[in-house]
């Protein structure tokens, strides 16, 4: 067989493999706390699934397997938005959270962190690789000192990175939903060399998007989903820029070349 034919066959097979591969996006959603499930939004949706109790993919159902369904109302429209935008063909969520939780539940011995450990152990059985880890901040009524809050979340994100295979982290921080509007807004900075990037700004959504001071309405959830998609796109751009600037990109590229 001539080399030209060989090259042609290799090209065809590579293209065929690429076409056959659906772009799966796996998202570990760490839900700080919040509201109960919105059952009407949890109906079966094509190409959106979750990681079940044994680590296998299962259909999305109410409640989520590893979460008390907090912010489930954001994840379903988010899955749809990701597929609609062409960023993924299938979206697989692993939402973890406890109802009524707060950042303290994510510290050592807390309800949420214990649940997370178990969920990641199960996910690791199938060598699940998460494309994104979301920290879904919450609309809380208590004021949280920004520095302490950031340190607490950083600790959680570090423990996730050490326990599982995760690529990028997108963090939407909590806001004090009952705080005076004139209070200074704090934008937390996340370490881009650890692939940590800021997520949607919960404070930016006004009354039109809220059922009350501390809860979004349906429109708010859809808007939040769009903002998460936007954050993903921004994180992709920024990640490449920072990784190249810091030379890390070239160190990691070596492995990609070796293993692909």
């Amino acid at each position: 067989m001539s080399s030209v034919v060989k090259v042609f066959l290799i090209l065809v097979s590579v293209l065929a493999m690429h076409a056959a591969q659906s772009r799966d996006m796996r998202i570990l959603a760490l839900q700080e706390g919040g509201v109960a499930c919105k059952n009407d939004l949890m109906n079966d949706m094509e190409n959106i699934s979750q990681i079940g109790p044994d680590g296998q993919e299962v259909a999305v159902a109410s409640n989520f397997e590893w979460s008390d369904c907090n912010d489930g109302a954001v994840l379903m429209p988010l899955g749809e938005e990701l597929i609609k935008s062409g960023l993924a063909d299938r979206v697989i969520f692993l939402p973890v959270g406890v109802e009524g939780g707060g950042v303290e539940d994510w510290q050592d011995g807390g309800r949420a962190i214990e649940k997370l450990k178990l969920a990641l152990t199960k996910a690791n059985v199938n060598n699940t690789r998460f494309d994104y880890v979301f920290w879904q901040g919450n609309m809380v009524s208590a004021d949280v000192a920004p520095n302490e809050y950031q340190q607490s979340i950083s600790k959680v994100l570090k423990s996730v990175k050490l326990q599982t295979n995760a690529d990028k982290f997108i963090i939407s921080s909590s806001v004090n939903c009952q705080a005076n509007d004139t209070l200074k807004k704090t934008t937390l900075r996340w370490d881009p060399l650890y692939n940590r990037f800021p997520g949607p700004d919960l404070q930016a959504l006004g009354d039109d998007y809220r059922a009350d001071h501390c809860n979004f309405n349906q429109r708010g959830y859809k808007k939040m989903a769009q903002l998460w998609v936007q954050s993903i796109s921004e994180a992709e751009t920024l990640s490449q820029r920072y990784q190249k600037e810091s030379v890390l990109y070239y160190f990691k590229k070596k492995y990609k070349t070796l293993f692909n």
Binding site: L162, P192, L193, N195, Y242, E245, V247, F251
Partner: protein
């Protein structure tokens, strides 16, 4: 041309190292409304160090410049201490799992840290950057002797003012480009030292007052820490308020010290002599404070700030002093002073 020993420059170096150490005090960022002003006041004093390096390069090296000997000396007293102190810094990074957070193997993390300075001990990035200056001294030497020096300096300074440091200071080439203007300014100041000396005292005072005024005005326009870009790429053209402020303050301090403080000051002289060691050691002190002492119950933000300043600045001076006594003539090979 041979100039007398410049105590003013030595005193400036002593002040610069104090600013550099204070700029790494994390508690300043928790001082509410004062944080932005403190940040603006303290950050980027590294530019002064680069200026002084440029000044000393011209002042001490230019007439008898020998590239090989120059590099050999820098290898012994700058790069070797850097490599030695990189060992505990890299070990700390591995202990803190930084390699995993960055998706690097332990060996790649070590190589990356040496190339960039790493992220565990904040000031280490300076050495890879200053090594770029060392390597480019033949070029810098030619520029220094060229009639185009002032024009190149102005272009370099404009670039410094309209650019920012690379992300986490992790790219020595970009850091070099960002700070090169200050190095060239140092060379220019040394080359034209006699002309600068000849400026009348009245004019020097006017320059000092105007520079201080500019520093204050730029400070009031400063949009704050949160607006600071964190990378070099994609931000060129944006006004770097702190670096512009530091340029204004540099001019003020340079002339003020020339005019009023060109005498030996034992404290600043000591700080200048150990400045290189302090540059390294205070990074470790900052790390220790952040990891183990920051979480203690302090009565308030000011007491935490006081404790951190005492620990980082005071502790670093003590450690460098002790290491110099213990290591004797070897201390230059280990801590660079």
């Amino acid at each position: 041309m041979k100039l007398n020993f410049r105590y003013s420059l030595e005193n400036f170096r002593g002040v610069a190292i104090i600013f550099v150490m204070l700029s790494h005090i994390g508690s300043f960022k928790s001082m509410g409304q004062y944080s932005d002003y403190l940040f603006y006041f303290l950050v980027d004093a590294t530019a002064w160090f680069v200026f002084i390096s440029g000044y000393l390069f011209y002042y001490l090296e230019i007439e008898k410049f020998n590239y090989t000997k120059y590099l050999a000396r820098k290898l012994k007293f700058v790069i070797l201490p850097y490599l030695i102190l990189s060992v505990p810094a890299i070990a700390a990074g591995l202990y803190l799992s930084r390699n995993i957070l960055m998706d690097l193997t332990a060996s790649d993390y070590a190589i990356w840290s040496i190339l960039t300075g790493g992220t565990v001990v904040a000031p280490m990035w300076f050495i890879p950057m200053i090594a770029v200056f060392f390597l480019l001294t033949p070029l810098l030497s030619r520029i220094a002797k060229s009639p185009l020096l002032l024009a190149v300096t102005v272009v370099g300074l404009l670039f410094s003012i309209f650019s920012f440091r690379p992300v986490h200071n992790s790219n020595a080439i970009f850091s070099f480009l960002h700070f090169a203007g200050f190095y060239l300014l140092g060379i220019s100041a040394a080359k034209h030292a006699l002309q600068l000396d000849a400026i009348s005292d009245a004019w020097k005072v006017r320059i000092i007052v105007l520079s201080l005024l500019a520093f204050v005005l730029i400070g009031f326009s400063y949009p704050g820490m949160e607006a600071e870009p964190i990378s070099f790429l994609g931000t060129i053209g944006g006004l770097n308020y702190p670096i512009l402020g530091k340029l204004a303050l540099l001019v003020a301090i340079f002339f003020a010290f020339e005019r009023f403080f060109n005498v030996q000051n034992k404290s600043l002289s000591f700080m200048a002599k150990i400045s290189f060691g302090l540059f390294f050691i205070h990074g470790f002190a900052t790390l220790v404070f952040v990891k183990w002492l920051n979480g203690l119950a302090y009565p308030g933000d000011f007491s935490r700030l006081g404790a951190e300043v005492f620990f980082v600045v005071g502790g670093s001076i003590v450690v460098v002093y002790v290491l110099r006594r213990v290591l004797g003539k070897w201390s230059r090979y280990v801590i660079g002073c």
